[in-house]
Amino acid sequence: MGSIKQIPVVEAKRTNPLARVFDDLVRFCRSRSLFILHYCTGCGAIELPPAMTSRFDMERLGIQPMVSPRQADILLITGYVSIKTLKRVILTYEQMGSPKYVIGICSCTVNGGMYWQSYATAKKLDEYMPVDLYIAGCMPRPEAVIAGLQQLMDKIHSGEASSWEDYYRNYDYYLGNQQKLFGEDWQTPTDVISEAKHYDLLSEGTLGDHTRLLEQHQKPLEALEMRLGHEQEEPAK
Amino acid sequence: MSTNLVLIIALPLLGAFLLPVLMRSSMAIALWSGPAILIYGCWIIADLWLSGFAQPLSVAIGGFAPPLGINLYVDSLALLFAFAVQLLGLVFWPFTLDQESARRQSLMLLLVAASTGLALSGDLFNLYVFYELAAVATFGLASASGSGAAYVATLRYLILSGIGSVLTLFGIALIYSQTGTLNLAHLAQLAPEQLHNSLGLTAFLAILIGIGVKAELFPVNTWVPEIYATASTRLSAFLAGLLSKLALLIILRLLLLIFHQPEAAQVILILGILGVISGELAAWRAREMKRMLAFSSIGQLGMIFIAMALPDGKGMLAVLALSLHHLIIKSGLFMLAEDWGGALERLRGSAKASPLGAVLFVLFSLSLVGMPPLPGFWAKFVLITELAAQVEPLYLLGLAVFLLATVVEASYLFRVAATLYGSPAQDTLSEEIPKTKGLSLLTASLFGAGVIAVALLIAPVGDGLQAIAAQALDVDLYITTVSPAVSGGSQ
């Protein structure tokens, strides 16, 4: 059960003062330029237009909407997540570029809210992906949303908002929950384990029974590297 | 020597009548006599040529001097054609021997004799007689294949050339009534006063149309496709290749010696143009090798007529070149058609079965459409330079038609070539694909070799032709040769 508290925040192990300044600058820029991908499930989405447009104007905080997960920093889940939806949410989350942040809006993302009895709804979002911030309420008003975003900005600036690393560190746990929900043969196109290696975030929690289960049926999805071989089995007819 | 020259007409004639009798006594003699005669004829002419033949000569028959007596006029042009007759007679000789092929052989000899006569005779009436002889021989040969279609075609041919003869005779009669002589040399003298009028012209046109039947002149050539399609290819080759040229020769002589009037030329030009258009266009849709060749030879003859129509003998060289070229090419093509008769579609992919035949076909076609440096190109080059030199719009029209016709010609000839080299259709089995073989292929390759030889030796050949043309053009030479007594004007 990985909640944000238990994760030690890794400090950049640098001694060069210039590097510190640079890291600080980078964190500052990250906090002041946030591209949102709002995954508009449920009713919370209705609160975002006022938050973006002339009334509250997110852009003055450097926050602007984006359309594709590759471009986005924040994944905004604005309401209840049915199981079908959750698959897409996870796919989208894994396609986003880290550092990435997840914000759950409305009580449905916290505990299922009014869908508590529903057989088809994922109750707790943070069982399936690390969530940086919940904005509770049904639905929270734009002020609340803005306030939440500002809180996130502060966390980013101070460098605590690193829960995305948790997804790699405890991937086995999250995968386990996902498999419980979607079945044994669950697989996303993104090869999280190799990414964990790529960011050297591989830790004891990354691999486990569930990842082993995954590797049994996982179709190979390693990238198509350029090849310069001149020998082909036999040219096409 | 003069007697020898008479022999080349007399011997085949004799042979023609004796052959049926001979073969009753001995097959062998009968088998070899015909070729022997022809070889002898060739030898005579070759000998005459090689023994420094420079000046034309006239041979009086039966000792009466022209204009009273009849004579043979032998200049290099006539000699060339006479030689061609003998040689082709030999080449197209029906070599088997049985009852009806004996008839064919004697008819062949008859045809050779008559054709030689046509080439040499210097007398209008003789020309007519030989012409009739040739016609008779042709009927016999044409119907010899014995199929119903052949008989029908022959009948058409018979009627047509019959009426043609009547017209010719009518023309000759007119001339005689006007001048009282039929000797060409004599007529040449008298013509300027007595024949350069509407009557003379009528006479000429009557003769033109009459003889035009054999010369495949439009529109009296409607017999051509049927005959060529049904008669034996060797005969077709002989007719298309040689006899038409001899008829041309007659018309040419008349035009040069007697009737060099613009109107005459104009008629020939118009008919020639029409001939080209009709022939080439008709050939474009022909679905059968022989028919296609027949139509294309109509077109070619039309071109020759256009050349002939050029004023005061400018086209002489072109006529000569085109005729000889067509003679060789068409004979060769007909030889190929002997095995490749029938629908063109049958030929799909037969290049595999008979590569040499296909190559020869392509060679002949290329020369026919006038691809340099093959001889056909030079012949056409001579023609169009002369045509372009004319100011008369009709000639320029002729030029345009000629060029367009060549395009059409190329397109249909090479459609056939593409068919030959195309991959055979699935439904036809390989054994169904016709092959060119045996004698005909040999003959065709002979002609092919001839074409290539001419292409290589084009420079000397060209000079030779120019010399011949110059000699043939010289009217005074003709007159003085035939009747030295009479100098220039009338008696």
């Binding site: 330029s33 104007d57 450097g62 359309v67 997960p69 590759r70 986003m96 960011y199 350029m226 | -």
Partner: protein, 299 residues
Amino acid sequence: MSATELLIELILMPLVAFVVGMMMVLMMRRIAAKLQRRIGPPFFQPLYDIVKLHSKKTQVSHGLIHDIGIVMAMGGYIAAETLLPVPGMNGIAEKGGIITLLYLMMIPSLGLALGVGQCANPNGSIGIARALTAMLAYDIPLVIVVFGVAYAAGTTNLIDIIAVQQAGGFETWGATQMPLLAIAGLIAMHASLGKQPFEIYIAPAEIATGPMVEMGGKYLGGLFVMQCFQLYTTSVLYVCLFLGGGTNWFDFLLKSFLVLAIPMSIAYLFPRYRTEDLLRLMWKWPVMLGLIGVAFVFV
């Protein structure tokens, strides 16, 4: 001039272009905000975005061509800047001339097209197809305009073109000499910026920002840099062709920003044209104006 001076110019010109370009991006977003009664982003927002994107941890690449495409997109413009004379710096403008400049400005889009192509995302491909079509649309009036200006000046050398305009002050400006061409050029330039109503190839809601769909991190950052250059190049080119270039930096920058402000303030008031409508519009009015303008040049 000496090699070192030239070298300094060649380094300085792209640098200036980048800085000014970022300000232009800011201006653009501010204008948009003002038109929508918003406050708009802070002053350094463009810088924040670029730094953030380049400092992303994940840099998703679809292959070497994907990377090279971005490099070409930035590099092409960096090269183009050195052919674009600014007050006091001519770089190698006289070695290329305006035709070369126009073609150099196609290199970035070609590079981008290649990069997007390897992303194996049909949205991107569709976006590029539309972008190239749009190029076909606005380049036709653009070349008419360029022809008119170059023919009027009797040279394709931008330095000379500017000199000709500065000869007699305001009267000899291209805009006053050839007003029709200036208008046509403005429309073509607006279209070439790929802003509303001509941003069918971005179409976020339809094809997920087309070319940018698979671009994250430094890839998107590269495109942001490219956008700065693009705004700068386009407006400065227009200034050089019609507004007599710049005698000093002040009026040079003033002109460039004003020129850019015109299409920007039009852009955010309009929805988007479909491709064929874009073509129809571009091939009708600006072309007509341009041709008439060229006719005037000839008489």
